[in-house]
């Protein structure tokens, strides 16, 4: 069994040594924005519906170009998919996800956009739930601070939206 070094993804390299056995299929994903390459097991890569469709349609030959996803986001996504293909214990996965998603809003946003683009339902659900939890109990001011959103509503607009929604006003 050969042990190969993979260029471009320090994450995978430092984590473990990958065994190249003949009955496992491997794919190379290349992020076109920053030209990073990731070699991934097919079983892990097809957690993305987009990649799955490409594989099934026979278009996944040598290198799959992935636009719009940056290298570091890709690395994290692969880490997530790997864990979820290997582990079946719900509890372990839950703990992993909580730890994994302990990121700032920018990183979460990148992850969310990428997961959406690549159609990885499990990841998208986890990230959107995490973001929802983050904003659930906060005031609008706090939300703006956390997510770094500019306040472009005038005082009148805020007042009007409050008046309009007297029926679902918070107690």
């Amino acid at each position: 069994m050969k042990k190969l070094k993979f260029i471009g993804n320090p994450l995978l390299q430092s984590r473990e040594k990958i065994n190249m056995s003949s009955d496992k299929k491997w794919l190379t994903l290349k992020t076109t924005e920053d030209n990073e390459e990731f070699v991934v097991e097919e079983s892990v890569a097809i957690m993305s519906n987009v990649i799955k469709n490409m594989v099934e349609d026979g278009c996944a030959s040598s290198v799959i170009p992935v636009p719009r996803v940056k290298g570091n986001a890709m690395g994290k996504i692969i880490e997530f998919c790997k864990k979820h293909t290997e582990e079946s214990d719900e509890k372990v996965l839950k703990e992993f996800d909580a730890e994994f998603l302990n990121l700032g809003p920018d990183a979460l946003y990148d992850l969310m956009v990428s997961a959406n683009f690549l159609e990885i339902k499990v990841l998208l659900d986890s990230v959107t739930t995490k973001v929802a939890d983050m904003i659930k109990g906060k005031s609008s001011e706090e939300i703006r601070n956390i997510l770094k959103i500019e306040n472009d509503l005038s005082a009148e607009e805020i007042e009007e939206s409050r008046r309009e929604n007297c029926w679902t006003r918070q107690e």
């Binding site: 659930k136 306040n151 607009e157 929604n165 007297c166």
Partner: protein, 409 residues
């Protein structure tokens, strides 16, 4: 790669091209917002223009789950029309989930009130008024979920308010309207529609009714499909031309005009009838008639394109009488005949929540809930717990008013 469209995991379609970047953000926002409790969505509206725009868009509203009737408001009226206590009882756990409003000093319940009409979670109440006549001077609109009370300080002009009711669909808009049909003194069949809008907080004249046939009277209106529907009962089949007989009146609230809809297969007025239920649940319009000789209830539902009515359920009453024998011992049950003393108060569908439809029935001394699919019953309210047999056999029907309690999520 740029112009391929991908389906997102939540079945929202959008394509990834650079021009439509804004759209993708909104789809992702939708995924997040749908995981936030509905009440908290109002905070989110104050975050930024984009968020405000999106949350109020009909595109987002369509993604919100439908409203669920979780309980019932039950009023027991006394002879003079003065209501007794108001109960709010959960449909799922009636024994444990109940509340009684008796004190007039409850902070959010107006004193001496009475529920006139309910619509998708809002209740139109009258208080401090002369209950004997249809003279609703002091109305208010009450949202029990948010405990919001809106007094309608004015009242529609004219003296005889034949019908007053709410038009409210929170999935379309957070504003409500109150529709009043006011007849002119002395002219029973010519009337005017007045609309009160929560936006302007005033009444305004809308349309004058065309001359309806003499037998038309407005019972409770049901708001469904953007229109208020009234069932009119024919005096007898032969008294009107065929064309009038086949149609009932409804009022299109948004376009402010009268329209007609097919009459359901109900009997003429003279037929001795126990009850006529006309109501709405989760986007379905139902009619149920109960006669003294009824042995199974036929539930008619209106087709969504208004082309006609069809029988949705046929519910035999015998299984209910096996659990509740008092339904066959009531004074109105003729000996030797298969009569059941049952009236219908509500039909709650619940299919959108993958649950069984429920019928809310009044039987002597009790209000029960009947599961149409598995035929199980549950007592919602037992009035006659302390009654002796005779009192139950002489139970007076028609003294209860039941409205659906639809909680905001």
């Amino acid at each position: 790669m740029n112009n391929l469209s991908f389906t997102s995991s939540s079945e929202l379609r959008f394509s990834f091209s650079s021009e439509e970047r804004v759209l993708d953000d909104e789809d992702l926002l939708a995924l997040i917002f749908l995981r936030v409790p509905w009440k908290k969505l109002m905070t989110l509206k104050c975050v930024s223009k984009q968020w405000l725009c999106f949350i109020t868009s009909s595109r987002f509203r369509k993604l919100l789950p439908p409203l669920r009737a979780s309980g019932l408001y039950i009023h027991r009226l006394f002879k003079l029309g003065r209501p007794d206590r108001l109960y709010l009882i959960g449909l799922d756990n009636p024994q444990t989930n109940r509340r009684i409003f008796t004190s007039p000093h409850h902070s959010f319940v107006p004193p001496k009130f009475r529920i006139l009409h309910s619509c998708n979670g809002l209740l139109l109440c009258a208080h401090n008024t002369n209950f004997r006549y249809n003279y609703y001077r002091n109305c208010c609109v009450w949202n029990p979920s948010t405990k919001q009370l809106d007094n309608i300080s004015q009242h529609p002009p004219g003296t005889r308010v034949s019908h007053i009711g709410l038009a409210f669909n929170p999935l379309k808009s957070l504003h409500y309207k109150v529709i009043a049909f006011v007849s002119e003194h002395g002219f029973k069949n010519v009337g005017f529609i007045y609309i009160y809008s929560s936006v302007t907080s005033t009444w305004r004249f809308s349309v004058q009714s065309f001359n309806p046939a003499p037998h038309l009277n407005f019972t409770d209106g049901v708001y469904w499909n953007g229109r208020v529907h009234w069932l009119s009962e024919l005096q007898d089949v032969n008294s009107v031309p065929k064309s009038d007989a086949s149609e009932c009146l409804c009022f299109n609230v948004d376009e402010e005009r009268f329209e007609t809809f097919p009459r359901p297969p109900i009997a003429v007025k003279a037929t001795p009838r126990k009850c006529l239920y006309f109501g709405e649940s989760e986007g379905h319009l139902h009619v149920i008639e109960v006669f003294p000789s009824t042995t199974s209830l036929k539930v008619y539902e209106m087709k969504s394109d208004y082309s006609g009515w069809f029988v949705k359920y046929k519910i035999p009453l015998a299984p209910i009488s096996e659990v509740f024998p008092e339904t066959t011992q009531h004074k109105t049950c003729l000996p030797g005949k298969n009569n059941f003393a049952v009236t219908v108060h509500s039909l709650i569908r619940r299919e959108s929540f993958q649950e069984d439809p429920l019928l809310v029935l009044e039987i002597p001394g009790k209000l029960i809930r009947y599961n149409i699919v598995d035929r199980s019953t549950k007592v919602i309210l037992d009035f006659g717990a302390d009654f002796d047999r005779k009192k139950i056999d002489y139970w007076e029907f028609g003294m209860l008013k039941v409205s659906q309690h639809i909680a905001s999520l």
